[in-house]
Point group: D2
Chain length 338, copies 4
């Protein structure tokens, strides 16, 4: 049981908004100067979360833009093959390009990325791409913070949230702060705060919440204070993550949950946050309490960091249950055999 | 009496933010193609309002940027000579230029303007220009909507309002919608709404409120519905203007006031809104009820449209009182003789 | 007699290309912070030269763009009233603005300007605005160097010169270097050199030629070396100006002429170069030798600097002849009485 | 024997300027929507030509910019490992990105590409990166036309050619027209023409020369007319390519050579032009007549199109000789066994 109210009689469970991108993961370990081949995957935080919940059985859709080229068509095909409704994904004709993320894995804990984000097509989705009828068809929407980084995507997000509130569509907000997409931390704090006031569920790390509060309350580092700040607006559930030390969920009714952790020896660190959010949102939408939902998120994250890709590795619910059942401490799982 | 609470022991009454510009008013009547000389005045809606309240006796200050050139120095000198605190007006060094407004008066009721707004310096003021200590020194701040038209001015406004709310500094919002400074009406609606939620007093025309509501409630044209919408957030007083038909003020406590009107045969139409806002804000800060404050605003507007300039023509309180006393119907006043 | 060959049977004498702008000259002496009124004039170096030769009796035309607003219409009207063919002046619809030059005259020798050049419409004229049929109708074209400062005007100039050479239309090049319109001196040197190679007559100051040669021959300061460098390409007449010390004209046949000077006590320094170029070009097109042409240019310059405006003050040929006849040393002329 | 004069006592044979990029070639055949892995290679026309001549034994260098990231370091390492002097390759710190070319091979004759060129670092090399001392050290420089597509690279090329002419460094110009990097064909024609006037050897297709002449001589399609046009400026050798129908070389002295062709069944079509230019330039620098040089170019091209990559596949001189000797008609060569 949890405090979220999802409207019945809606044919979609979750609509994600924003970034549809391509990951190009180095196939060899080591610095990218020396790696010679790359594998292509669907990427982008809301895309990954959408894939995650879809694989767990939710009916999901997407609002966003793709480039009018081979990568754009690859993304559409991938959504289609994953059973995701792509009727509100627009093909952009301005010449904007799919965002690219090249990844290198120097070691399991030393991973870095090289981004191509100039004129990124995912930031071109605009207010006209957000249809009131579509928002009304879904029980919930998911905003990933990077969509706030630039216009017209920024305004499209505020419009979508306005419409969601009008139609009692629950709003999930995964902060997903990526410094390289922003001009300044002050600008980020402004827009993240304006959005956070309007959301039902906010998921972020302690560092991300510090940034949100840098103008209104720069000295606070206390999770309880943070949670209550947003409960004063519209939040019902807050998740504050502390990395390996685990996560905490708060409810507007004053409950606090400590999240499970399943330490593993990772192949890479990418994808942990997205798979966590996917499992957690799925759990809440099943009506589980936040503690149970966090357990699903944590298990999903541990499975994904044990694999080479993000999107392709998102587990189904059976795999998550097997993982939790079999888990017996920090070691390298042969995830394929779970 | 009104429902606003101004903090005591603050050395400034009102800080205006945003546009400091130059008006170049044609000295001759007729189309600008044919006019040959122009007179230079301080311009910009918040600048005019700041001058207006200052002339009425309030202690005011300004947060904004001026160009590092002759026009920038002219503006600083003008503020200084008007007794306005300019300690938080920054000289911009990026090469941005003072916004210019050339005006032509083809006839008293057919006036038009030619704007120079590329790389306008007034939109360059940023979060760093907004000092918490300064906001704390004032009883109220004034936001003029054009400051929301572009970054970094847009973010600076949200930061200023956040700090004002933290320190119980009253926030006045004059919508002041200028289509040419915006990319689209949808974008305008988004940011105006986000700001309106945070303000104590909102002043706008019926058309401006229609635009604010175009995403959340596109079919509404009812002043009562509009007023109540913003009372649900933080507004305490709402003014909705209907041009020559007069204005209405609403309070969060449910009172409605009909504003006085003083029709005159104008020299030009520019400056009516700014002088109205100046008189109205002054009245509220004196503790008058909204009806009385609207009367001061309307008289001030009638005086200003009877003069050649905006900023230079802002009346003092004695002139307003004389005007009201002597007013006896729509005719051309010889304002200098009041 | 001179060495230029103008094609017969062409209905236009000279087509100027590029800048059509507005000058706003302070009516009062003193720093612009304190001046209160401005008078409006046509401005821009090629516009002024075009007016100058037109007043001297040449049939001239213009290729360029004006803004779709009151200032654009003012410029078209001015050209029309001056008898200049404006059939190839395009009204730009991109939202670009007329370049503005505010001038202040602190003293006759201490003048400065404030430029508005962001998104200047004069730099928007493009290759499509340059019609081969029009270039073919004229005996000569005039390029003013500022038109090279940005695309698409830059490419339009090279296209016009290519067509002029194809049709034996003489190319005059007035270097007219304005640092504020360029990104770097190196860039300027590159494009000025590329253009200079293609021109028949080049007019510039010693400092301007130093800049042209900064990449190919950075140490040269010798006028003879400079003149010969460009005679190796296509130049036939070179004018190198040394301010008050006078000017020198060189011909490809090896002759050198020393220009006359008519020192006067100026009202302001603006417009000297444009009126000089106008008189000089007129003289060459009359078939005078370069020495005589320089005398007309120098007299015209002295008349213009004794007046408040540039374009309005351009003299006719009778006034120039009277000035030369009456000149008797450096003193303030009452130009209106000549 | 040919008509080019290379200065003796210079420690570099050829300096290439401009594009250093990364190719990401799909490893699988088929549309890129479906390919899943990519192999990384050095790319960019002048980079490929530089690699080609280096592998043939010339001492070469490069002037250009690379990104301050993993791809930039990969490029530097590749040049270093190829024995190319990279002392004048600058690491750009503006945030510009390495240009990327994703290639797909749907069939040997149906290949297409997907370019990432926003804020491409190769177009950021500027006049300051072009050192007179370095140009003086080389017998020849190579300009690839794409470097003219934007500032500041455009101006850097003109500066380099000016310095090359000053120091009798031979200038090779490979037109290499890529429409997607340019704003309009007219703009391209202007800059290509300005550059072509200054070059000693010009290599292009018939279509490329048609574009160069579109302003000055739009109706010409005759190779002889084209060749003579540029001989009137500074050209000594002109190569005009007609695809599979072969190529023709002209000399300023009036000789014409028909190039050899070695038809093969290609793996892909990429890289043909670059390897051709590499072999041809090498031949001319060995003092061979243009016919012999074209044979080397054609053989090199046939070898490269039979391989998966461009840069990696550039042959050494022994391989070219073996290929020519063994060639016996159009069939698929097993290039690795030559």
């Amino acid at each position: 049981m949890n405090n979220l109210v999802f409207q019945k009689n809606r044919d979609l469970d979750l609509i994600a908004l924003g970034r549809l991108a391509v990951d190009l993961n180095a196939n060899e370990m080591g610095p990218m100067e020396e790696t010679s081949t790359f594998s292509k995957y669907l990427g982008g935080s809301p895309a990954n979360i959408c894939i995650a919940v879809s694989r767990l059985g939710l009916k999901s859709g997407f609002i966003g833009r793709v480039a009018d080229d081979q990568f754009g068509r690859f993304i559409i095909n991938y959504l289609k093959d994953s059973g995701i409704d792509y009727s509100n994904v627009t093909v952009d004709e301005s010449g904007a390009k799919t965002g690219l993320t090249f990844t290198e894995i120097k070691s399991p804990t030393d991973c870095s990325i090289l981004m191509y984000r100039y004129n990124a097509v995912d930031l071109k989705f605009d207010i006209c791409d957000v249809k009131e009828e579509y928002i009304k068809r879904s029980k919930a929407i998911l905003i990933s913070g990077t969509a706030l980084a630039a216009s017209p995507s920024r305004e499209a997000v505020f419009a979508a949230v306005e419409l969601a509130r009008k139609h009692k569509t629950v709003v999930f907000f995964d902060i997903d702060y990526r410094p390289y997409t922003w001009k300044s931390v002050e600008e980020t704090a402004i827009y993240y705060s304006l959005l956070a006031e309007r959301c039902d569920v906010i998921i972020g790390t302690r560092e991300e919440f510090d940034m949100l509060e840098m103008i209104s309350d720069p000295d606070n580092e206390d999770d309880d204070v943070t949670a209550n700040k947003w409960f004063d607006y519209n939040a019902k559930i807050m998740v504050i993550k502390h990395g390996k030390e685990g996560s905490y969920a708060y409810t507007a009714e004053g409950k606090k949950y400590t999240g499970a952790v399943f330490p593993v020896i990772p192949v890479k660190t990418f994808g942990a946050g997205d798979s966590y959010a996917g499992g957690f949102i799925y759990g809440l939408m099943q009506g589980y309490d936040p503690g149970k939902a966090m357990e699903l998120g944590a298990a999903s994250a541990s499975i994904v960091v044990s694999s080479h890709s993000c999107s392709d590795a998102m587990p189904d619910i059976n795999k998550i249950h097997r993982f939790i059942k079999q888990y017996d401490g920090e070691k390298s799982y042969d995830v394929k055999n779970i």
